[in-house]
Subunit: 367 residues, 2 copies
């Protein structure tokens, strides 16, 4: 019988506590109970588990538990396909309030670079952020405004060019409007970036997301799918990042937050159910240097989008006490830029480019 191999090391960087989880499968549970971590989470939650349970009706706590479970489930589902690398787990604290748990895997056989991060932060919003929220229709009369934000953010860059990259982010926000009211909303999205187009995958992916959203209303998928195509667009290249998905912000279905929370949970679940089979299906596909080269060139576009346009990245980089390594884990391990790279007409690369130049409705937008 193998012994659990997990260990914890303090990195000495601020208040980051870093584990490396080398244990797997049947040893997994023992490993975690070794640390006494509840529910086999990747690490102790930012808010104490006792508090999360004691105040289980608060949306902050419900959301944090959902994030912890999602992180654990997605990390475990991915790890089942990765024979070599392990999750490095960094639990960090934010000086001005809250913290997060970053799980990152690098140099795997299947997963070249993968990150599944959660953050649970609170404090006061700077005037600029309040201004930006008010410009989106909020009515926050006092600034700086007390806020709470939590979310999960993940980018998976597999090694095999036939396995697409996925990104998803689901978040919950609360802000004090300065008039005795707490404004709250949800945001998020999931989008898929293949290097080679597999229409069956694209259709399946959109079907899953559509099915999740249709449970909550007839128009969400149509609206969020279009929002995704508009958001993940690289204007200087005239192309979308991938085959799209869904994207939304400022969401509040009704006065009771539970309905929106249920939608968020369904979208996250659909994401995992859509993506994991794609990893399984393509992780052993044969490829050569030409396919790898193309993947690295496309990853260059991923870097361009994230560094120039992604609002989350921009916001993070400009936040003084943000954890830069957690923000930039979204960048691929390797990217290439080739001057005047051209794809051959009619090639597999060209097929991908045509759907990036003109977004496709992979499934009917409404029923």
């Amino acid at each position: 019988m193998k012994l659990p191999l997990c260990f914890a090391t303090s990195l000495g960087i601020g208040s980051v506590l870093s584990y490396k989880r080398l244990c797997r499968n049947s040893d997994e549970i023992k490993c975690r109970s070794f640390f006494g971590i509840p529910e086999n989470f990747m690490a102790e939650p930012v808010t104490s588990y006792k508090e999360l349970q004691a105040n289980s009706k608060s949306m902050r706590n419900k959301m944090e538990l959902f994030l912890m479970r999602s992180q654990r489930d997605f990390c475990n589902a991915l790890a089942a396909h990765e024979p070599e690398a392990s999750w490095r787990i960094d639990k960090w604290e934010r000086k001005s309030g809250g913290g997060g748990i970053s799980c990152v895997m690098q140099e795997g056989k299947v997963l070249e670079k993968a990150g599944v991060n959660i953050s649970v932060v609170h404090g006061v919003l700077p005037a600029k952020a309040v201004e930006s929220m008010n410009s989106r229709g909020k009515a926050i009369v006092k600034s700086p405004a007390p806020f709470f934000a939590c979310g999960i953010s993940s980018v998976i860059h597999p090694r095999n060019p036939y396995v697409p990259t996925i990104h998803f982010n689901y978040r919950y926000f609360e802000v004090d409007d300065g008039n005795g009211k707490t404004l709250s909303w949800f945001g998020g999205g999931t989008d898929l970036t293949p290097y080679y187009l597999n229409e069956e995958d694209a259709v399946f992916f959109h079907q899953m997301l559509k099915k999740a959203l249709m449970k909550h209303g007839p128009d969400y998928y149509k609206k969020f799918k279009k929002w995704c195509d508009t958001y993940f667009y690289l204007p200087h290249r005239g192309e979308t990042r991938g085959v799209g998905g869904i994207f939304f912000d400022d969401l509040n279905i009704s006065q009771t937050q539970d309905e929106t929370f249920a939608l968020i949970k369904d979208c996250a679940e659909a994401t995992f159910k859509a993506y994991i089979p794609m990893v399984e299906k393509h992780k052993n596909s044969g490829y050569g240097l030409a396919e790898r080269n193309w993947q690295l060139i496309r990853r260059g576009r991923y870097v361009e989008f994230n560094l120039i346009h992604d609002r989350g990245t921009q916001f993070g980089l400009r936040t003084p006490d943000a954890r830069i390594e957690s923000i930039l884990m979204s960048l691929p391990a390797i990217a290439k830029w080739e001057y005047m790279h051209e794809v051959k007409g009619g090639s597999e690369e060209d097929k991908l480019m045509s759907v990036l130049k003109t977004p496709v409705d992979w499934v009917p937008l409404t029923d």
Copy 2:
């Protein structure tokens, strides 16, 4: 006797005419006279050579001739060290006025990716650009304002991690102030990005730039050196891009433009004289995977700076009819991002980091 191997191909992309210069050394002159290109320039100038000669007192024309000669000289000096790759020469036209010549070399034995680009453009400046100029102290009363701009921009990414990356840009600007007056100024700079610190190189580089600037006044080097350290700074990493150099804008030494033009020419000349010996000195230095890996990680920072902060790149990407491939030639062929990469204390990588964290005065700032 070898025959000239040059040929020209039309790419069919807009109005780009592309040559590949395979000829070398003694065949070089024959090759260029084959195209009938004056003064052995890399391509026909944007403004006809006849016009450049006929109106030789105009600063626009003097500057364009200087740019053409600089491009030719720097390209030839680099090519002398590159045994495998050749310059790809793209001459392009800008729909709204003017054009440029991009010389790019890729996948060389010594030069992994190198670009030496010139542009000579004119038209009308959009209101936003006028606003930005006025905020810098110009007094342009009409908008949109007619303008003329020309410049040379170069980034050289050698393959060997012991050869530093260099960037330089020298430019001239004219804009109609709407009150019958033409405002004009010069801008530019040269900065060096080593992967391994060679103090002798850093000192030599700064000595050359200082010497060039001291000819024109006692304070330019001090001012432009500090401006460079401030400009090429990555705030989210808390580090400068490299060992600095010089950076300046809105420069007009006196009413006669010739004095500023002479300064620009001296800086460009000092750049070439400082850099080419570094290529020669280190191009055959031995290195292994660890040094290559470090170089690629540092190149990731170069990408971060260019895509997030570089004003020229930002401006270019937001200009509707800009030539994206010429703007993004500055990005390295390959870059890496490793989560939580750490350098070993006291290592050669650590020595570099310490000068990036705290900029050094490599030579006395004044005499």
